[in-house]
């Protein structure tokens, strides 16, 4: 009991420390000061009166939401003597693997840099700055020559690294037996199986109504939809993050999904957010980064070719170029197993005081990265708001999809969970696929790395991401991958090669996500 209390006060102290000096803090102080003029504030009961004023005017709720946000990104409590690396990633072998993967990426980036003779960063001449400012809203019209640039890595390269991960303490040399793991991931982590998922995700059960199933055309809205919408409106008007998150588990109505997600993520569009975005935009105008070309290439290769996302091309540049320059993103590396790459000012290699993080936000984009942003364009079109929401989604969820960690939402756990779920649910299918050289993970990996963006139709994808936010976990992505295989099991049993298995699973655009999940977990 003592420990719990001690843990709690540590948490409280951490959150207070983080919020102190934040903009919200100064706003609250200002509000408290100004309300002293109000008639209902009496000197005898100053503290209580100011408190009730803040509550009535909605400021207490804003503070609650801010605290709630901090709780989300707070790492789990660790041993007081543990070094900071443990907060990033407690398992040593994972840290080592991540570090060597990072070395590889950086090497690839540096060699591209030298080969092409393009500097990592370059100040733009004034004329170029002017041109870019004029073209800011239509950067997609540019057709720069990107043929020399290659993506730094593609998901399949990353998959090879994950497959080769080994825990030195775990002997998995036993052959293929009924009780062994037939998949590609060779390590063992604690991932939830179906009974555990049922317990953790009760709102997806057959007896619980939700959007994506119970709002179907032939079901009268009175049964669920109308009431759900009414509650949603209330949640939005109360501006309550925690309530919004709980609500999202049953799906967000199209009409106010944008507000609900912003609420859950506590992504605001206050003047200071807009100003921050404008500063980032100015940074883009002043300096050209090598990674900008990688971003251009990625957008042109992925989003621009998509039937539905091509329209948002310009927004993607406006978000991703600014994202690369946002040093506020560096904060998340305290709980991300990854470490931002360092670069040296020319001529001073090795001198620690001349290192600079590159790119400024520490995140090197890979092939398909822009697909994290594309679905959000469907909801937000003011660039600063879109940016705000994307950044928060990244530092809470997306980063876990491309860094090696033991987190239950990390890509390693998701891969393992996917394989285990499929093997336990449909052992015949799994055995057949691995026997013909079509390991399921080889197909499902690309879906999971992108959280299915670009593979599902937009409305279905948004329903899936509703649940990622609602349950604050990416596990649902692994479950969906297994559910997709289950759905196409009959056809998959007939195939005889990896290529034909890929063909069966090539087009997911007609799938309905919620029924698949529900049937997989509860039926």
């Amino acid at each position: 009991m003592m420990e719990e209390g001690a843990d709690l006060s540590v948490t409280i102290a951490q959150i207070v420390h983080r919020l102190k000096g934040a903009h919200l803090h100064s706003q609250l102080e200002k509000q408290a000061r100004e309300c002293l003029h109000r008639p209902e504030i009496k000197l005898e009961s100053l503290k209580e009166d100011v408190r009730s004023f803040l509550k009535a005017s909605g400021w207490e709720r804003k503070l609650q939401n801010a605290v709630y946000r901090e709780l989300h990104i707070l790492p789990p409590p660790g041993h007081p003597a543990a070094p900071p690396e443990h907060t990033k990633e407690p398992l040593v072998y994972m840290r080592k693997a991540q570090a060597s993967w990072e070395k590889r990426i950086l090497k690839s980036l540096n060699s591209m840099c030298t080969e092409l003779g393009v500097p990592l960063a370059r100040k733009r001449p004034v004329s170029e700055q002017k041109e870019l400012t004029n073209k800011w809203n239509e950067m997609g019209t540019d057709e720069p020559d990107l043929s020399k640039f290659r993506p730094v890595y593609a998901p399949k390269d990353f998959l090879e690294v994950l497959i080769s991960l080994k825990n030195p303490n775990y002997d998995c040399r036993e052959g293929l037996t009924a009780s062994s793991h037939w998949g590609l991931i060779q390590i063992s982590l604690n991932v939830r199986d179906i009974p555990q998922m049922r317990e953790a995700y009760p709102e997806l059960s057959l007896t619980c109504s939700q959007l994506g199933i119970d709002d179907h055309a032939h079901i009268p809205p009175d049964l669920f939809e109308s009431e759900h919408i009414r509650i949603g409106k209330k949640v939005v008007s109360e501006q309550d993050s925690a309530a919004a998150q709980q609500y999202s588990r049953q799906g967000c109505p199209t009409g106010f999904r944008a507000q609900l997600w912003a609420l859950i993520l506590n992504a605001t569009n206050e003047p200071e957010d807009i100003m921050h975005y404008e500063q980032l935009k100015a940074a883009v105008i002043h300096h050209d980064l090598l990674v900008d070309n990688l971003i251009y290439k990625d957008v042109k290769l992925t989003a621009s070719n998509d039937d539905y996302y091509f329209v948002f091309e310009d927004f993607l540049y406006q978000v991703l170029l600014c994202f690369s320059r946002d040093t506020a993103v560096l904060e998340h590396f305290s709980y991300n197993s990854a470490t931002p790459p360092k670069s040296y000012i020319q001529g001073k290699t090795g001198a620690e005081e001349f290192t600079v993080v590159y790119p400024p936000n520490g995140v090197i984009p890979f092939h398909g990265f822009s697909m994290y942003v594309s679905p959000l364009c469907f909801l937000y079109n003011e660039p600063s708001k879109l940016y705000s929401v994307f950044r928060e989604m990244y530092v809470r969820y997306f980063f876990r999809l491309h860094s090696i960690s033991s987190s239950p939402s990390g890509i390693v756990s998701l891969c393992l969970q996917f394989e285990r779920l499929l093997q336990n649910h449909l052992p015949q299918l799994f055995y057949h696929l691995q026997a013909i050289g079509a390991q399921p993970l080889r197909i499902a990996f690309k879906w999971m790395v992108r959280a299915f963006s670009g593979y599902l139709s937009t409305d279905q994808l948004l329903l899936l991401w509703d649940r990622i936010l609602g349950y604050d976990s990416l596990e649902i992505v692994a479950v969906l991958a297994a559910a997709v295989f289950t759905f196409r099991a009959e056809n998959l049993m007939q195939v005889t090669s990896l290529a034909s298995a890929e063909a069966v699973l090539a087009d997911l655009s007609t799938l309905k996500v919620m029924p698949l999940l529900q049937v997989f977990l509860f039926a």
Partner: protein, 443 residues
Amino acid sequence: TFFPSQQNSIGYTLTSLPPNSDSPDREGRSSVRYKCSMINSILDVLRQRPGWVEIKEDGEWDFNWCDVGWLRENFDHSYMEEHVRICHFRNHYELTRKNLMVKNLKRYRKTLDREVGRLEGAKCDFFPCTFELPSEYHLFVEEFKRSPGSIWIMKPVARSQGKGIFLFRKLKDIMEWKKVQRFSLNFEDQRDEAPVESYVAQRYIENPYLIGGRKFDLRVYVLVTSYLPLKAWLYRDGFARFSNTRFSLSSIDDQYVHLTNVAVQKTAPDYDPEKGCKWQMQQLRRYLTAKHGSEAVETLFKDIDNIFIRSLLSVQKVIINDKHCFELYGYDILLDQHLKPWLIEVNASPSLTASSQEDYEMKYRLLEDTLNVVDMEGRLTGKEKRVGGYDLMWNDGPVYREDVSLETLGTTYQIANTNLGCVNDRRKQLRQLLKPFPGHKRS
């Protein structure tokens, strides 16, 4: 197989089903002889319809999917038996030629103003201010001078020909055009396709609704099976066509011959209105709902319904009604930034060529359901409010959804029976609605 395969046609002796017990005068046919002048998706639909046989030479036909040229030359001299169907109305151009459409709408509006009141007439303000040239030239100049600085668009009425469509801001920009017109009229043969009144000048919508900085317009399909009384169906599917370039007004400041983004596309020799990127209507509807909320979008779609109904009512008394005729119109609608829909034009021969697999499937469904509504096989009772993806929008009066819940009882508020951009679960609906084709088992 029992039914004709794609290439060969097997002749049948004409038989007809016993009349449907619900409507004694609807005789269905188990074999339909058709003519088709197109080689796109309509031909595929016709060929794959059980019991339908293609007539290539000058044989007798029961159904003709013809082009407007054929209609113009042959309709007046053809005798058609009672059951025969053809896909155009004789004088459809009252609705589909820009100058005539505007003339009819203006006249209809005046009638409403006079007989019902200005409020009712105001419901017709869904087309931009338009003048026929040269006949209304002076009226046009008056209006032009009243709103200096605004942009106008010049369009040939029948088709994009010669210089085609262009934008202008100053009167002097069209002085050249005027001279050219007089020149060509003097030296070219007078053809009845190029009458003197061959252009319209229209206020350009300068604030279109943009998505991703791009302008788009909507293509919506409306099927009319009768004008007197007016019976019109609205298809749930459709699409939004995006221009490839970002919208900008700055390029009009060049000479009038420099055509803008949209106009460039329209006058390019390989202009294909179906090329360019598209969103399915359902995607657009969801996007707008996510951005503006469901109430605003429902209002928008109600306003769009209003465009169809009023444009059809405006020509109702002018179109030569003929029980043999039906027509599938392609409406082009533009949205502005205030989510107000504008009628750009109505096409009597909307393109049935597909630009992608998804597009092909949509047009296939559309045409299949069109044939289901026309119902040569006599499988419908005539009382249906929905057939596949078509919802009955107007049946000599507005058609409402039947939903009478406790809240709506006693109130006058009723929901229209239209579902543009909504889920199109047509296969299920058709299974429940229709008997299988003669000789076919229910699959």
